[in-house]
């Protein structure tokens, strides 16, 4: 670990669990601090996704028109894009709504299960895609890191390998679901 790696993380339609598994590095986060720069992500205050990011970890599925725009922009600005966790890799939990029509899913939440102002939110909120889909259906993905969430050790291994300039081989280190 010698050079400083510019890392970004983001969540699309996910539960933040993958990010929490990253934070589960605990004290090792502090050890890693001199070698990485967190240039964008939910834990830092940057509002604009910067150009020329070395590695971006993407949690969650692509579920809205804004996710779609965002993932394309992220792809353009990242050298290495990691599909981070089962929701990003397979659509996992967000994909469970795919068997229903968006209209029916929204109807349950906002028309049936409400006692006041039943209406579908439409101001300043994104448009839901018909189906929540995995990241690689929209952009090319360089590394798939499965798990719900991916084990902390597999995250550390991935980042360390990338820091060393190698493509991580995750065989046996992470699997779906677990």
């Amino acid at each position: 670990m010698s050079k400083v790696l510019r890392i970004a993380t983001t969540w699309l339609d996910g539960c933040s669990g993958c990010h929490m598994s990253f934070l589960d590095l605990d004290e090792r986060l502090a050890d890693m601090a001199p070698h990485i720069e967190m240039v964008y992500g939910p834990l830092v205050d940057a509002k604009v996704f910067p150009e020329g990011v070395d590695v971006t970890l993407v949690e969650g599925a692509v579920a809205t028109d804004e996710d779609k725009k965002k993932i394309r922009m992220i792809r353009d600005r990242s050298y290495i894009l990691v599909s981070f966790g089962d929701c990003a890799v397979t659509a996992n939990v967000p994909g469970m709504r795919n068997q229903f029509k968006v209209k029916d899913v929204m109807k349950r939440g906002y028309l049936e299960n409400s006692s006041q102002n039943p209406e579908l939110p439409s101001i300043g909120v994104p448009h839901l895609l018909d189906r929540a889909r995995p990241v690689h259906e929209f952009v090319s993905v360089d590394v798939f890191l499965p798990g719900c969430p991916p084990p902390t050790e597999a995250i550390l291994y991935t980042i360390s390998e990338l820091l060393a300039g190698r493509v991580p081989d995750l065989k046996g280190k992470a699997r779906f679901g677990a």
Partner: protein, 473 residues
Amino acid sequence: MTQQIVIDPITRIEGHGKITIHLDDEGRVSDAQFHVTQFRGFEKFCEGRPFYEMPSLTERICGICPISHSVASAKACDAILGVRVPETGAKLRRLLTYGQYIQSHALSFFHLSAPDLVLGMDSDPAKRNILGVLEADPTLALDGIKLRKIGQEIIAGFTGKRIHPAWVVPGGVNEPLAEDHRKTMLASLPEALEITLRTLRWFKASLENHREEIRTFANFPTMFMGLVNDEGNLEHVNGKLRFIDYKGNIVADGVEAADYKTYIGESVEPWSFLKSPYYKPLGYPDGIYRVGPAARLNVCNGCGTPLADQEWAEFRSLERGPVMSSFHNHYARLIEIVYAIEKAQELLNDPNITSPHVRAFAQPNYSEGVGVVEAPRGTLFHHYKVDEEGLMTWANFIVATGNNNLAMNRGVLQVAQRFINGNSIPEGALNRIEAVIRAFDPCLSCSTHAIKNPSFPLLLLAADGTVLDKVRI
């Protein structure tokens, strides 16, 4: 509404949110909206699935408070089974919950809000994060990292997995607690207590630096809601609902989970995927109430453990009635960590905590069940209906953060009115508007699913669309 400021995304919170601030012709703040832009559809896609899957499925609503979802869900399932959870099973659900409180509150305080509290609301945004705190005050940052780890290790002590352990089940829990894990957990707690008390001392001493924030962070009269136990003391897992008014008078008490619909209505705001619950007898929006750490300390008669009780008394002496400023959620969060550690110690020393009777088995005997718990962010309801086969036909969730939605919207307006004047916006003012949201520690993936447009800088636009001011961070 001729000009708008958009803060997008709100950073250092869990999930997707943005804020729109409307200015009138004189550049005064006239309105503000807090948008939650993530929608997930759990209420619908649960349909047709076996009810016993729900605790492990609904854990995936949130990676920070999965335990609260699994316990609320399992309680709804217990009601469908019609069983009484064995004593040790109930204690283990409680122990697991305290582990989660330690980690989730630590995350909120140290990782998400400490950058504002330690480095300052106006400090350099490029450094205003946990790594920046690590440089400026390594002891405090490492304390936070360690405390969160201890909470996570308690959760992992049951299953070997820190996040989404799928360990709480209908009728109880999956497995008894092993003796070696009991010992390891117990051994980790003194350090956790030391860290929390040290942080609490530091925080109390720093309160005077935050006078303006205390005055404006959702500091207005509302009702409060929370669970209390049979003695009226602080409760997170069982107990019944209590509502108090802004003066501290109890307006409803001993409310059973199953009756929640008599007291709570849910309204839709067109600008958010997060619904706004309200106290039904007062109607919408007058029935605004708050939940979460400060609300719980406001509604209870005390904590029931020695150190937390002492801190609780001091906390409540901040004001004559309930503590109104939501800034004090940070304070209340630290007191609740103290409480969680004391309770965890008590449970781990309980002689039957390692008993093998942890789960009751039954077929579904009722077609409906409601489960309620206090999640770190506030009261959480799971309400299920099933058919003859035990397949889900309907679900409703009222998530902790939703209960605070009306108050968060009003809080954003209050802070914006105080810190934004005229046509220039200092970055620190915008950060304060986000910080009021952070004080509530919202969990927006619970709510729905928010979305943001990250290439969108903060703009202050004039009526003709020209840019008056631009803040790029």
